[in-house]
Subunit: 209 residues, 2 copies
């Protein structure tokens, strides 16, 4: 079937949001940890991790300022530091629950049953249950004027992970770490590594690594 | 183990790129089809699909102008139209092979064994083997000055998919469509839907939909 732009514009708004959001791909789910200047811990689930570059190591994520993501955004802009925490499949419901609209004074760590952890003298909390944790420093905010979303770019300060997930060539197996992926606002997936393929060259068909 | 920013900066560049790239998450893989003003078809694999908004339906992707993605970028900026084609797991090697540096005159459709298809009077080729196809119109180019990457934002013109993948509430099951996800430049995954969860509210634990 074909769904065209006119039909899209006429759909009921929640149907359209579910369609366009879920269609936009299966993505890594992760929790962003922050701390407000008043000392309140905050945790929120995101799925818009964007690899910007490896040298310097820069990652971005997209933020909608009119949602529960507002606390995360404000804390990052005020303190300049935040944490990325990949989610173990066992913690799917706890991670999903962080998307509820808790008041700013309530810590989603407490409300959702996840544990604050402080690492490497970083002042912002990590999720202890997370198999892979990354300390981030804010670098740049880009406004996407076309619809008011915001791209937050930060640099990786340090990575905490179990050595068993790291291959000799630097590859990190997020499926082996049983991390969660998601699509749209409510669908959660598990992943299986099928294969790694050799660097593609015009005269040679790719082979398994 | 902890890997800090100093260690990251001292790693051999290919090791660092593999580490930061693979760590940036499992993502939807997709092929972007374009046509040059001279009429040459082009196809290239990407994994940086970014959901910008649902109304209007806007998606972005990130582009590195110094790679094989250059043809894709030039064609989009010159013609204003392009196609997104999700990849069936069976076509992993063909899709990966589009990342080889073919000359601009060679069609990756031919070189990689994928079939051009024209739909809905759209002038740019789709991948016939793709279970989900989306016609895109260029809207905006944003330069990410921090490292020279480019965010291309476009609007969805139409979607072609099999009705069996579309739920009553608008959810599209990309795992059921056996579409491919990837991490870094060479690792490919299959996905299984674990669950969909109810809209999160502070006073209520999420339940399965």
């Amino acid at each position: 079937m074909i769904i065209d732009a006119t039909q899209l514009s006429q759909f009921e708004s929640r149907y359209r949001a579910t369609l366009i959001n879920s269609l936009a791909g299966i993505k890594q789910a992760f929790l962003i940890g922050t701390k407000s200047t008043a000392g309140h811990s905050n945790l929120a689930i995101f799925n818009s991790l964007i690899h910007i570059g490896a040298n310097p190591p820069l990652w971005g994520f997209l933020c909608r300022p009119d949602t529960v993501q507002r606390d995360t955004l404000r804390n990052i802009l005020e303190t300049g530091q935040y944490t990325f925490n990949f989610i173990h499949q066992e913690d799917t419901e706890k991670a999903h629950q962080t998307s509820a609209k808790f008041s700013s004074e309530i810590s989603e760590f407490d409300a959702c049953g996840l544990t604050e952890e402080y690492l490497n003298e970083f002042p912002v909390p990590f999720v202890s249950e997370s198999p892979i944790k990354i300390g981030m420093k804010f670098e740049e905010k880009m406004d996407i004027s076309i619809n008011g979303t915001i791209l937050i770019i930060g640099s990786i300060q340090f990575i905490e992970l179990d050595e068993q997930f790291l291959s000799l060539d630097g590859f990190v197996d997020l499926a082996k770490a049983q991390t969660l992926t998601c699509a749209g606002l409510d669908a959660y997936f598990e992943n299986t590594l099928m294969q790694r393929l050799s660097y593609a060259k015009p005269e040679k068909w790719p082979s398994k690594l």
